[in-house]
Point group: D2
Chain length 383, copies 4
């Protein structure tokens, strides 16, 4: 089996999920490459060293440029804060590396444009880690939609609800708190949470053509954890929008970190002429399905426990009835990337496809600022 | 429309549910009789008088014999404590009245035998109010079983869980507490709760042939609410049994008043070769259905919201999506009784059919006493 | 007990729910009036006659003016199509009758203004039947909010999802189909379904200050069931809006008749700083409650089975564990109206309060037309 | 970090779950040993070779004796069919190895006795892989019980429902089908599924003193997959029993492979005076909890999403809201074993504790044969 040497840039929460994915993929999937955890890069040397030891990286670095320049590295995987994505990705592409990048690809579509151009010019493999496409239940939803089971689509609804920033005592700033800094993150929940909802939505239901949005910052100022000063909060705490899709259906989207009682409740629902689907990240191993073609008196919402060998990805895991969890979604994405790399197919979403989400998040933020409907940028042609 | 004059014996909780049923049935069902609330009978005169005023009874009595002897009365409906059922029912039958009786029919099968003989000798209409058969979801289950949707049956499970007697401070005795006095009730949860489970089970799954049971009285003595003295508790607080059905399937049954968190959780599940069914009184307007004939990757438990016009009884109520509740089950039973009376069919269960449950509860109590498997009495031939 | 003579205008679906409420209220609630079903009015004489016989009305009429003019009538209850409400209500008020009216009060706030003026000028009792306030679970939610259990509110979400008009073969027009005719109904789902969501929302969370909405008519033309001609559909099939409340919270609202799999799924969720609440009409006897003050590791969403005597309205019904249904909500509203009438309090919502919902639905329709945020009319001052 | 060289005997389904556990444990838990996958042993050489390559074992063997005799091996982990456990474990103990063994420990308590004696005589570490104790939700239940939150216990219920052997066309015999051969497995569902329920039950609720059981073999003969002949089925397809615990509570237990619609539905419920708990393997990341001490009108079953850092084991995984799955339970058990080994504590259950379950399964099978209540063997003293 061919080795694929990984240089990972970033060693936070996403560094763990990606490292785990590359460690586990060969145990469960028959893919033509064996990823090798070659180098981890983190700006804090002791942390990077510990991370390397924990996950079995052969070396660690504190300067990402050294990783990108290392001729032994085949793939640069970017899991650092959003404001660093573009520069790293562009350099990696120019160095001829495969490049994969945690979402959102960058802080906005314009910034992402440079990344798209770089990977396409260099002709290197590239992928955005919109991992919820690889939840088996969501993939089953995709299959059902592609088979035409739902018929004409009328409604799409998605929410991503969290509650971890409600306390006004929570600081903003650096380290694990860069998600509260718009200069670093690009936006608040719009890029962090809504981006997931939008990527899945367009994958399942085609392009979004226009949006009307509202955002809100409930806690207006917070202490900065590095400076110690109370400073204005620059991000959106909540972001909601109405959408029209290219296929004529209507969408409602909402993300917030102020929904008490929900930790990571990403839910989606799609209502078609013939059938409807509901999925929920808090019970990610289930798909709710309603089929109007069922016999009348026996119609109902079916809770499908996605653990059987005929469910997407599941024959690779345990036996029927035994569920998998969140981390497996990354392993699936790694497997698809490695398989695609062998066969000549690109695993989706590529950077170009990932940029489509940036066009929507840009439109959402503009609509909220301008209090008007905004048409989504040019790349939003309906699928 | 013909009038049917009702004499109701008892004005407690069941007096209310039955009075409501007779008041409401003509508003929703096209039946050939109009029940008239003629006389209510209660041993406490002021209570009976108030009850009559509240429900529109034309008169009240404190001596049930006067009601039975009244030539204007067509139907005697018995909702008094269990130890009074037999004597009233037999007298009513001999007086040529129709007789309906709240469950259990009496304190044991031998006592019930006199009631069966009396109504059959007199040739009068009779019915036991095992009302859970008339929950629309349960009736739908019955239809599916009768259509052979489930195939060979392997397992039947039923539980009736309550928690209202956990406090040792609760007294036993008279008035509303006669259910804690074995001399009046016949038994504890066996006759009160398990009887419901058994009636439904045999209706859905045929006769029970033998049982192995255990009972327990967790609080051994309680103050008597009339005498004020602490006296031994004579009833079973919990009653559990394993069963074998005539069709070869296995059953597990359990009833208790010590299941903290459950108020009236009557649940049943039946597993067949091809399909399975679950129902639950706490959400009585839903039926869970699993059909193995569904396409493999789309198999799952379907939650059928039983509110559509093609569901049993539901076309008589509101519009799809709008649920009914507990009391409606009595109205359905009244409707079936009145319709049957017109067409010559008897509404089930008759006293004879109701007695089959007494044979099982007798066997359960005997098994618990003797710590052995007990065959169910002679009338338990498989349906 | 004093008699209260009812003249009911309309004998459709709502005629049944209201007649049932007035029939049942005295059986379960100790109120100072006994409603008497005096006269039912319907435009189809045979139907009105049958309706009268079924529900025990003493007489029937085909001309509502005769009912309004009848000096024996104390209360005019309006359950006819929306375009008739104002004229009838105004005439009834001028005749000195109490007036209650099914929602929405009329086709728009301007039309409702005449009704408000009439009842206030005449000084007569008046009430709009926004019945979901009287679901025990919703009333418990109100209590918790009023007690400050939720703290500062961040989010309010409501949806009312149906699927009964998906088929393009469904005609529009008269009789039971007037809800598809904007000239009669005023609007489509905005007035029919969203109005419920809005009334509950403002009752629980205070006034809505501005909205951004989108509406859609998925099936553009339908055969008229009276003329037989295919005609443009004039109503909104779906209506969605973002809202800002006076208390600073954000709202998302959606109503549709094109959500396959949902019959009458009215759901609401409210997220506060300290606690959150979810309710769902398809299981109306449950309230979901999350309390952040619970011990950390034991936090979770609690499903409260609203059947205990310490739950709103429930001591009037059966025993713990036994659920009530849709129709009971009308009985509660009737009980509150009759009690209020005795004590001098008005049962809410009065016509004036009901008009607040019309201001919002007007703003929603205007926003959808103009593709802009619209401020809600002057009466929308925060509660 | 010290290396701990693993010799694993068996490379089927459980070989995978154990290999994964030892591969993953150091990535997530700070334990003092690093397990090294030294040698895998399987009777089919090509399969064993592939398994070794897939999981990174340094070598493979087809004769377990060679592994046991290898001085480099520190720990023998047994995941082969039940009839081989005792011989391997005894040899491993005599060779001075640590010994861990998949459940059930052997085919019956007498056979297990030799294993217990061997490990205790040799003074080697030993553990039975009753992994459901390490589900975070189940561990939380244990904490709550140990803290006295539930008060006096009245009822314990457990079921393990599967449906994979319903088809009469399924063969019995060798390879993956040894679970249908009593000579190899010891029993059918009693040892395979009920053993899990019993282990958890006694851990949570103390010893079981006596049982009354029924077993059934629904499909009486099946083709043998090796001989091709139709032969009698020797195992129990279903096994049910009533139990009395040493603490006075009553138990109902059931396991079957004929419960259509359930793949691996291990559920448990425990009802105490003050609180109750429900858990369910199909949604293993949730715990249902009812606390009677909650304010009356707000009592209800709480669904606790076990993903927070204050839940057992969960701080080692991802972030709140993100669930883990089945395989993690083995990783937790490996972590506890390795930690315990370092600190001098034994990770439970040891072989001696695991044998207690064998005494109960022996009693269940005897009770079913003899149709009588059977007292559990001597080691079943109440905790």
């Amino acid at each position: 089996m061919k080795k694929l040497n990984i240089g990972m840039i970033g060693c936070g929460f996403m560094g763990r999920t990606h490292s785990n994915a590359f460690s586990q993929v060969n145990h469960f999937f028959d893919v033509p490459y064996q990823p090798v955890l070659k180098t981890i890069c983190g700006i804090d040397a002791p942390l990077a060293k510990d991370f390397a030891a924990n996950w079995g990286y052969e070396s660690y670095e504190t300067d990402w440029r050294k990783v990108v320049e290392n001729p032994d590295i085949d793939l640069i995987d970017i899991v650092s804060p959003n404001n660093t994505h573009a520069e790293i990705a562009i350099a990696a592409a120019r160095a001829g590396k495969m490049v994969t990048c945690e979402k959102p690809l960058s802080r906005n579509a314009a910034e992402t444009a440079g990344m798209v151009e770089a990977v396409e010019t260099a002709g290197v493999r590239n992928m955005a880690w919109y991992i919820y496409r690889r939840v088996p239940a969501v993939m089953l939803a995709k299959q059902l939609i592609d088979e035409g089971r739902l018929g004409r689509i009328f409604h799409y609804r998605a929410k991503f609800l969290q509650d971890w920033t409600i306390s006004a005592a929570l600081p903003q700033g650096g380290d694990g708190l860069w998600r509260l800094d718009a200069a670093v993150a690009g936006s608040g929940v719009t890029g962090d949470l809504l981006a997931h909802c939008i990527d899945t939505a367009m994958w399942l239901n085609g392009g979004i053509t226009e949006v009307s949005a509202a955002t809100e910052t409930f806690v207006k100022s917070r202490k900065h954890n590095l400076t110690g000063k109370v400073e204005p909060v620059t991000i959106d705490d909540a972001s909601l929008f109405l959408a029209r899709f290219g296929n004529g259906s209507l969408g409602t989207f909402e993300a917030t970190r102020y929904a008490r009682g929900h930790k990571a409740l990403y839910t989606l629902e799609i209502n078609g002429e013939n059938a409807s689907i509901i999925w929920d990240l808090h019970d990610l191993h289930r798909l709710q399905f309603f089929d109007h073609k069922d016999e009348g008196r026996l119609r109902g919402w079916k809770s499908i426990h996605i653990t059987d060998s005929d469910h997407p990805y599941m024959k690779h895991w345990w036996v029927p009835g035994l569920q998998i969890g969140y981390e497996h979604t990354f392993i699936h994405q790694a497997a698809d990337f490695l398989s695609g790399t062998a066969t000549g197919c690109y695993a989706v979403p590529t950077f170009r496809e990932g940029q489509r989400t940036d066009y929507v998040t840009d439109a959402v933020l503009e609509s909220a600022r301008n209090r008007s409907w905004v048409k989504v940028g040019e790349s939003q042609e309906s699928k």
